[in-house]
Symmetry: C2
Amino acid sequence: MFATYFAIMTYTKATAFGEEQQELAKMAKVLSHPARIAILQHLARTQRCISGDIAQEIPLSRTTVSQHLQELKSAGLIKGEIDGLTVCYCIDKEQFTKAAAMMATFLQQVASSYDCDCQPNPIPA
Amino acid sequence: MFATYFAIMTYTKATAFGEEQQELAKMAKVLSHPARIAILQHLARTQRCISGDIAQEIPLSRTTVSQHLQELKSAGLIKGEIDGLTVCYCIDKEQFTKAAAMMATFLQQVASSYDCDCQPNPIPA
DNA sequence: AAAGTATGTCGCAAACATACGTCATACTTA
DNA sequence: TAAGTATGACGTATGTTTGCGACATACTTT
């Protein structure tokens, strides 16, 4: 107990990243591969929910595309329904919108930060 | 020459990812680690351009934080000015805003896509 | 000049991501 | 029921990222 406290206090700095920081990083990670961007764009553009034809649109093997789809799915950004032989994927609009809003808010906050002129630390607190 | 053509044509699908897809993925990758999110938030929040004090705010060693700073810098999202002993980092507002806008547009486009009900491929083109 | 401080760079180990061939599953159609 | 097709899961090779200690650099202060 004391030991635990001590261990924590020894670390002057933050002990872990915040919930939101981890959420944002996770969202960003999902988007951090061109194949997954391409898949999302394709799903957004197409009128119908294309299944494995997606692999036709992307310069990767079917296996690899399937993996990327799994990743997008387990992140909750898309959903897939089995319909007989084929699987119909589409954007999970609700979840995607939520995650996108969080990301957009973060970007907005950082972008609208005060424009620094890189002066040396003014008040060495 | 013919061989090259043949090699290209053999690939029915796209040969490479688009410029924009790669740009977006790159931006996302930079944001795909909680430490880098935390650093950006910290820089945005702080009135003055903190240098190595950043390491105090983050649950990682100074070395590792320095690396993350380098990554943000080489992605152009932040800039750092040496001022004697310390280095003053801050958001590169122009570049960050540009990248953020690109990302926000992409998210918006996907989020505002048509809401699919996952019917089986209607017209098997 | 010597000691001190803020930083960055190097090199390594461990963890993770990517790509893809092959195999397993489950449905369709003949 | 057998052949065919669309998929996902498994295994594995190869590459990339992360984290950090130890060292190098460059400036400041005494």
